[in-house]
Symmetry: C2
Subunit: 364 residues, 2 copies
C-alpha cells in the first residue's frame, strides 16, 4: 500500500517519501543539508525557431561528482553529514531540485528591452526522483517489486504535478552515465513540470493529432500492431507490453516501450499493465548493460498526455530509451546535422541492433 | 582569380581543386587512394515527429583518428601513400564524402512493408571541404586571405550544388574537435546537399516567414539593429558584419554572425562583405581558442536560402557557432531536456558570456 509523507526542508523545498513495504521513516525535524542555489532564472524567447530557452545561471554551480561518502542522495546515516534526505532509510523519494530549471516562485524578469528580447518567469517545478537508497544500485538492476513501486510513485507525481494550474506538461526522464553529463551517480531520475508544451513534445502531439484525424486511429496503437506483426525489430515482450527498436530510430540502440491498451498516462494503467511495464523496462535496461558487459549510458523519456486540460485522443503512453553508444566504445554525437539542421544520421540498421539486443540476455 | 579543376577519382567520386594564388596543381591520373564505403543507405520516415531519419550503415566503418602520417586529407606527398587528394599541394578542395549520408545514386529501397515503414532513396550529395593543405592548421588560425578564399569556394559550392534539381537545401557546416565526434583532425568542414528541407531549417523558415508577414520586415535585419543598439551581447564587429551572443542562446558561448545587408546567401555578398565576414569569423574563432588557451570544440552552421526554387523574402545569411563547453573543462550535454523534449537549458547568462568573449583577445 502506497503511503506518502511530505516534509518541508529548511530552505523551503518539499520532499515526499513514498513508502510501500515498510512504515514511513521516523523523521527528525530536518536540519542543515544542502540548500537551494541562487542565481538568475528566466525563459527567453528564441524568435529564430519560436521556442523558449531556459536561462538558469544558478545551475552552473551544481554539485559535480562528489565522492560516494558525500553523496547528497543517500539516506542520512551519519548525523555529521546531513544529505538531502533526513532519514536513515527510504524506498522512493521525490524532492524539489536544488538547481532547478523551473521554480514555482521564479521571479518576474525585468521588462523586455525590445520586441526581440521577450522573456518571462520560469514558473514550474523540477524534481529529483530517488529510485533506491542504495548508492550503487541501477534502475535496470532493481528488483521487479521496486521498479513497480517506482512506476506507482511516478504515476502519483504525474497526477500531483499535473493538477497544478501552472503545469502544462509533466516530463519524467532519466539521464544515466557521465557520458551524458550526469553529475551525481546515485540512481535517480528527474521530472520537469513545464509551464508550456516543450517543442519536441508539441511536434509529437501535432503528428499524433494529424494521424488520428486522417485515419481515425491512434498512431501508437497502430505502431504496436505493426511492430508485433513485423517482428524484426522486437526486443522484448511481457504480456501486452512490447519493447522494439523503432523503424526510424534516431539512436542506434533506441528502444520504445509501448502497451497494447490505449492509455494516456501511467496513472491510467491497470495493475497488471504496470507489472508488465516494470518487467519490460528492467529487461531492456539489463540488455543494454549486458551488450558489452558495461553500464550503457542512456536517456529515458516518458511520454504521457499533457496536463493542460485539452482533450487529445491520440495520446498514448510510451517510453523512449536513447542509449549514447553507436558501437562498443564509440559515442553517437549530436553534431552539425542533428543539432544544427535537425536531421538525425543513424549509422546502423535498426533490424540488426534489435537482433543484438534480443541476444543480450538479461541477468536472472 | 578563382580557378576550378575537377577530377573523377578511381571509385567514381569527384574532387574539385579551388586555386587562387597558385596555378592549379599538376595532376597525375589518380590511382589508388581510399575508396567509397559500401552498405545500406536510405531515408526512413519517423511518423512520431514527421521527419526523415538517415539510415546509413556504411558510415559505421569510417576512418577513426588515424595517425597524422596517414591522414587522408593531406596532399599526396609520398607516392607510397595515396591520400584522398592526388596532388602534392592544394589551396581549397571539395570532394565527395567517402561515407556519405546522401548520394546522387543512392538505391531505391525495397517497397515499404507497411504504411508505418515508409522509406525512400537518400539522394543528395555529401562533400568534405578541405580548408588548407596544412595538417595542423585551424580555421580560425588561417590567414585572412585564405579564409576569404574559403568563403569564395563555399559560395561556389552553394551555387553548384543548389543548381541540382534534386537538392533543396545546401547545408555548409563544420564539426570541430574530438569532443563532437570528429574522426579526422585535418582542418575541414562538410556540406550536406539535402533533397528536402531539414526539420530545424524548416522551423527557421516558418518563423522567418511569420515575422515577415506580421511586420513587413526581415527578422535578421531587425536582429542586427537590435543587437547593435543594445550592445551588451556584442562580441566583434568588422564593417557591416557583427558577431554577438544571441539573446536566447542555446549554448553558453553560442555566437551568431550577421551582416547589415539583406543577402540570402554567400553568393550574394559583395567583395567587401566577404572580407568583413572572413575577418569576423576568424576573430570569433580565435577568441574561442583564447578563452582558456585551449582549442574550443564547436559546431559551425551556415544558414542560407533554400535552393528549391521557392521565393522567401525573409531569408538572410547568417552563421551559428555552437561551442561545446559551458565552462573550462565542463561540456554542455544535450540530454533529456534538449534531446527528449526539445527545450534547451542554458546555465549561463548570454550577456556575461559575451563580455568574456569580448575580453578574449585574438592573436595578432
Amino acid at each position: 500500500m502506497l503511503q506518502k509523507t511530505q516534509i518541508i526542508k529548511p530552505d523551503g523545498r518539499y520532499l515526499v517519501f513514498y513508502s510501500f513495504d515498510r512504515p514511513p521513516p521516523a523523521l527528525a525535524t530536518p536540519e542543515g543539508g544542502p540548500s537551494r542555489g541562487l542565481g538568475s532564472l528566466e525563459l527567453r524567447w528564441n524568435p529564430l525557431v519560436e521556442e523558449w530557452v531556459v536561462v538558469a545561471s544558478e545551475r552552473q554551480e551544481r554539485t559535480f561528482l562528489p565522492p560516494s561518502r558525500y553523496c547528497p542522495f543517500c539516506p542520512t546515516r551519519d548525523p555529521s553529514f546531513a544529505t538531502e534526505v533526513p532519514a536513515p532509510h527510504y524506498e522512493v523519494v521525490a524532492l524539489e531540485n536544488r538547481f532547478p530549471s523551473f521554480r514555482p516562485d521564479a521571479p518576474e524578469p525585468a521588462p523586455a528591452a525590445s520586441e526581440l528580447q521577450t522573456r518571462t518567469a520560469a514558473r514550474g517545478v523540477c524534481e529529483v526522483i530517488l529510485y533506491s537508497p542504495e548508492h550503487h544500485a541501477t534502475l535496470g538492476g532493481l528488483p521487479q517489486a521496486q521498479v513497480r513501486h517506482l512506476l506507482d510513485a511516478w504515476a502519483d507525481r504525474y497526477q500531483e504535478l499535473g493538477a497544478r494550474s501552472d503545469v502544462h506538461y509533466v516530463y519524467i526522464f532519466e539521464n544515466r552515465g557521465e557520458e551524458i553529463g550526469v553529475t551525481l551517480t546515485h540512481p535517480h531520475g528527474q521530472i520537469y513540470a513545464f509551464p508550456y508544451l516543450p517543442p519536441r513534445i508539441q511536434r509529437k502531439l501535432t503528428a499524433e493529432a494529424a494521424y488520428h484525424e486522417r485515419t481515425g486511429r491512434c498512431l501508437h496503437c497502430d505502431r504496436f500492431a505493426d511492430e508485433l506483426a513485423d517482428g524484426r525489430r522486437l526486443v522484448a515482450r511481457r504480456g501486452d507490453m512490447v519493447a522494439f527498436v523503432p523503424f526510424a530510430a534516431r539512436f542506434p540502440y533506441e528502444v520504445h516501450i509501448l502497451g497494447r491498451a490505449h492509455r494516456p498516462s501511467l496513472a491510467a494503467l491497470a495493475g497488471e499493465e504496470r507489472e508488465a511495464l516494470a518487467a519490460v523496462l528492467r529487461t531492456v535496461l539489463q540488455k543494454y548493460d549486458n551488450l558489452w558487459s558495461l553500464p550503457m549510458p542512456y536517456m529515458l523519456a516518458m511520454h504521457q498526455a499533457p496536463t493542460d486540460g485539452v482533450e487529445r485522443p491520440g495520446c498514448h503512453l510510451h517510453i523512449e530509451l536513447m542509449p549514447l553508444y553507436r558501437s562498443r566504445g564509440k559515442l553517437k554525437y549530436l553534431a552539425g546535422s542533428e543539432t544544427g539542421a535537425g536531421t538525425f544520421i543513424n549509422d546502423t540498421l535498426p533490424e540488426e541492433k534489435a537482433e543484438e539486443l534480443r541476444w543480450a540476455e538479461p541477468r536472472t
